[in-house]
């Protein structure tokens, strides 16, 4: 997993609530047996017409907006546990998702792929949307070590929560499986004691 320390970027705004993982990556794209290429189909049904041409009114097809931070309405990533949703977001090039609320399984999946979900207040989220609406070149800075997110237009800043273990994983590019593998003896002891 790639390390994540600090990032300043322009953002892609998606002010829709309850964006479910079926929208992030529709089920018909889940037939692959590897993790590659999902970024091409991120938000496929919102992004492309039936003939595969881009839908002009969708934000990913609007040249005004770019960057490695996706900012979305509340309850992002609800529904299916498909990790393909995290692979699609990572594959497209997003490193951070900002919302006022995330669904649980998606949040875990994102973290397991080095994509940082940042929970902000409803007010802070509304301010980001307003700033980006006024100027598409508005930027945010996310500092994981200090757990802060800063709106570089208004100068307003918030701290965000992340558990110490996951923070350590992201800062050092470590993943859970190595950690669990190092606990094999404890697992066998647990089994023996049952």
């Amino acid at each position: 997993m790639e390390k994540f320390i600090k990032l300043t970027s322009t953002v892609v705004p998606l002010p829709i609530e309850n964006v479910d993982t079926d929208q992030i990556i529709p089920a018909r794209f889940l037939k692959a047996t590897d993790k590659n290429g999902f970024g091409d189909n991120l938000f496929a049904d919102w992004r492309y017409n039936k003939d595969g041409s881009p839908k002009a009114d969708f934000v990913l097809n609007n040249a005004l907006y770019s960057g490695s931070i996706l900012v979305a309405g509340k309850n992002f990533g609800s529904g299916s546990s498909r990790e393909h949703a995290a692979w699609a977001i990572d594959g497209y090039g997003f490193k951070v998702i900002v919302s006022s609320f995330f669904a649980d399984i998606f949040q875990n999946n994102a973290l397991n792929n080095g994509v940082l979900p940042v929970v902000v207040s409803v007010e802070f989220l509304a301010e980001i949307f307003a700033c980006v609406n006024a100027d598409a070149k508005s930027t945010l800075t996310i500092d994981l070590q200090n757990q802060t997110i800063t709106n570089n237009v208004s100068g307003n800043s918030e701290t965000f929560a992340i558990n110490a273990y996951k923070k350590e994983c992201l800062l050092n590019g470590l993943d859970d499986i190595d950690y669990l593998l190092s606990k094999k003896a404890q697992i066998e002891a647990y089994e023996a004691a049952r």
């Binding site: 997993m1 002010p15 829709i16 609530e17 309850n18 479910d20 079926d22 929208q23 529709p26 089920a27 018909r28 889940l30 037939k31 692959a32 047996t33 590897d34 049904d45 039936k50 309405g73 509340k74 309850n75 609800s78 529904g79 299916s80 546990s81 498909r82 990790e83 393909h84 995290a86 609320f101 669904a103 649980d104 399984i105 875990n108 999946n109 397991n112 409803v122 509304a126 558990n163 110490a164 273990y165 996951k166 350590e168 994983c169 050092n172 590019g173 470590l174 993943d175 859970d176 499986i177 190595d178 950690y179 669990l180 593998l181 190092s182 606990k183 094999k184 404890q186 697992i187 089994e191």
Partner: protein
């Protein structure tokens, strides 16, 4: 990847012993604490998993991960594998037509073979079917277990008094490699349904009612225990329907304390404990309930008598209403949510304030891990008996497993259904997520007993109206949204 000791600040502490020994604890706490291998300081818990269910769509990258790391599956006998999501529901005896789907199914078989997985149920196997249906019916699911699967509807198994939840593919790999996952302890919520359900109201209606009250994110971060007279009165299969839908209000999972209904269901099934082992387990299962005075982080109560047959009108399962109600007006929606609300109704081709009773629909789907069990087919068959399928309806009746299919034939439901003009398809997830050819065409309305009405869930542009098996049966014979109580 650097994993050296001095760089790894992710230290552990041993489990803190029985949680709150000597004080009132919840059912969730009791099961959780019995499965803690270790706790990461300021971090998640290393939780031991008793049963892992595995299907073809969310597992190939996990097996690939094991290959890359040169690892074996740690406890192969604790993983049950069935192909269900990306499978056809006709001609299963013939090679799968779609080459990409066929490759995924072949990969699944190859992984089962390469990693010596003893419990592998491919297409056509008598134990094949939807993962959350074959688990309980073969006796893999027991009270007090921890159960995971790369599928959000793993919450279904909570009906037995188990901690069961969906995981991502990275976590599937962790379970295959170590039989453990790292999870943060969820908050606890208890939802009590007082009194009795009215006639014509099913477990699905109870769940859709609850989700409409809590909204699609209303239980995020919680594990929900369902309690109360109306829950106690549910059969095991109805309890599975309720727990199945826990995720649709964002809950990590749902669970119901085991009782005689649970023990009777589990006893005698192939993978259920037998003989002395059964007695030992049963004694333990009888301790699995929330103590009197146990404190939940949140408590909610509903009156079962307030629930009528439910339908959804929008594009998430929280957008539900009684079948005789009108779609909420725009003014009744929070200002921040109005854009999403309008987008949703636009997709559905519906108007705020509109009534849906009497609306012509095009498709009916009976099946899925929510409503694809034998009791659902009994309810549907009982309603359509002596009636005829409406001409405007395309109906897909998809049993959840081959064992359900067999029972449909043995009980004579097959004759009732065929006489009423319905055909039976072969088991699988089918139109619930439309990974196969069972796709509802764009713009068409489907009354569906599945679990999600998301945009495009049943096919690009498909318009899903979620309902229980009884409302689905009534729609199938009238061709319209119909109150089954009339």
């Amino acid at each position: 990847m650097n994993n050296s000791e001095n760089n790894d600040k992710r230290s552990t502490t041993p489990p803190s012993g029985v949680w709150g020994a000597g004080r009132a604890t919840t059912l969730f706490d009791k099961i959780w604490d019995a499965h803690v291998v270790s706790s990461v300081e300021n971090g998640p818990t290393q939780l031991y998993i008793d049963r892992h269910f595995c299907h073809e769509v969310t597992s190939p990258q996990a097996f690939n991960g094991l290959r890359t790391r040169g690892l074996k599956v740690f406890r192969p006998e604790l993983t049950t594998m069935t192909a269900d999501h990306n499978t056809p529901t006709i001609n299963q005896d013939q090679p799968v037509q779609d080459p990409i789907s066929r490759n995924q199914l072949d990969t699944f078989a190859q992984n089962a073979n390469d990693f010596n997985m003893p419990l592998f149920y491919p297409l056509g196997h008598i134990k094949n079917g939807v993962v959350h249906i074959i688990g309980p019916e073969n006796g893999f699911t027991h009270p007090g277990m921890t159960i995971v699967c790369g599928d959000s509807h793993t919450s279904t198994h909570g009906a037995f008094g188990a901690i069961a939840f969906g995981i991502g593919t990275s976590e599937v790999e962790m379970v295959l490699a170590t039989q453990c996952v790292l999870q943060s302890r969820a908050k606890t919520m208890r939802i009590t349904f007082n009194g009795k359900l009215n006639a014509g109201v099913t477990a699905k209606d109870l769940a859709l009612y609850m989700i409409s009250k809590l909204t699609t994110g209303g239980a995020t971060g919680y594990f929900v225990e369902y309690a109360g007279e109306a829950i106690r009165n549910l059969s095991m299969e109805e309890r599975m329907t309720v727990c199945n839908l826990s995720i649709e209000m964002g809950a990590r999972g749902g669970l119901i304390a085991p009782d005689q209904t649970t023990y009777d269901y589990v006893k005698g099934r192939e993978f259920a404990p037998k003989g002395e082992e059964w007695d030992k387990k049963l004694a333990y299962w009888k301790t699995l309930k929330s103590d009197e005075g146990a404190k939940f982080d949140k408590e909610l109560e509903f009156n079962a008598a307030d629930i009528q047959p439910m339908i959804t009108y929008g594009t998430n399962p929280g957008m539900g209403m009684g079948i005789t109600d009108s779609i909420p007006t725009l003014e009744s929606i929070d200002e921040a949510g109005r854009i999403s609300y309008q987008k949703s109704l636009e997709y559905m081709g519906l108007e705020a304030g509109e009534k849906l009773e009497g609306k012509t629909i095009d498709y009916v789907f009976l099946g899925s891990c929510t409503n694809g069990r034998i009791e659902d087919f009994r309810v549907f068959a009982n309603y359509v008996k002596g009636k005829k399928k409406a001409d405007n309806i395309t109906a897909w009746l998809v049993p959840g497993s081959w064992m359900v299919e067999k029972q449909i034939r043995e009980e004579g439901l097959y004759e009732i259904l065929t006489e009423a003009g319905f055909a039976l398809r072969q088991p699988g997830c089918s139109a619930c997520l439309a990974m196969n050819d069972d796709k509802v065409p764009a713009g068409k309305y489907a009354v569906s007993t599945s679990n999600r009405n998301f945009e495009g869930r049943q096919g690009p542009g498909a318009r899903t109206i979620l309902a229980g098996p009884l409302v689905a049966a009534a729609a199938a014979v009238t061709g319209k949204i119909t109150d089954p109580r009339n």
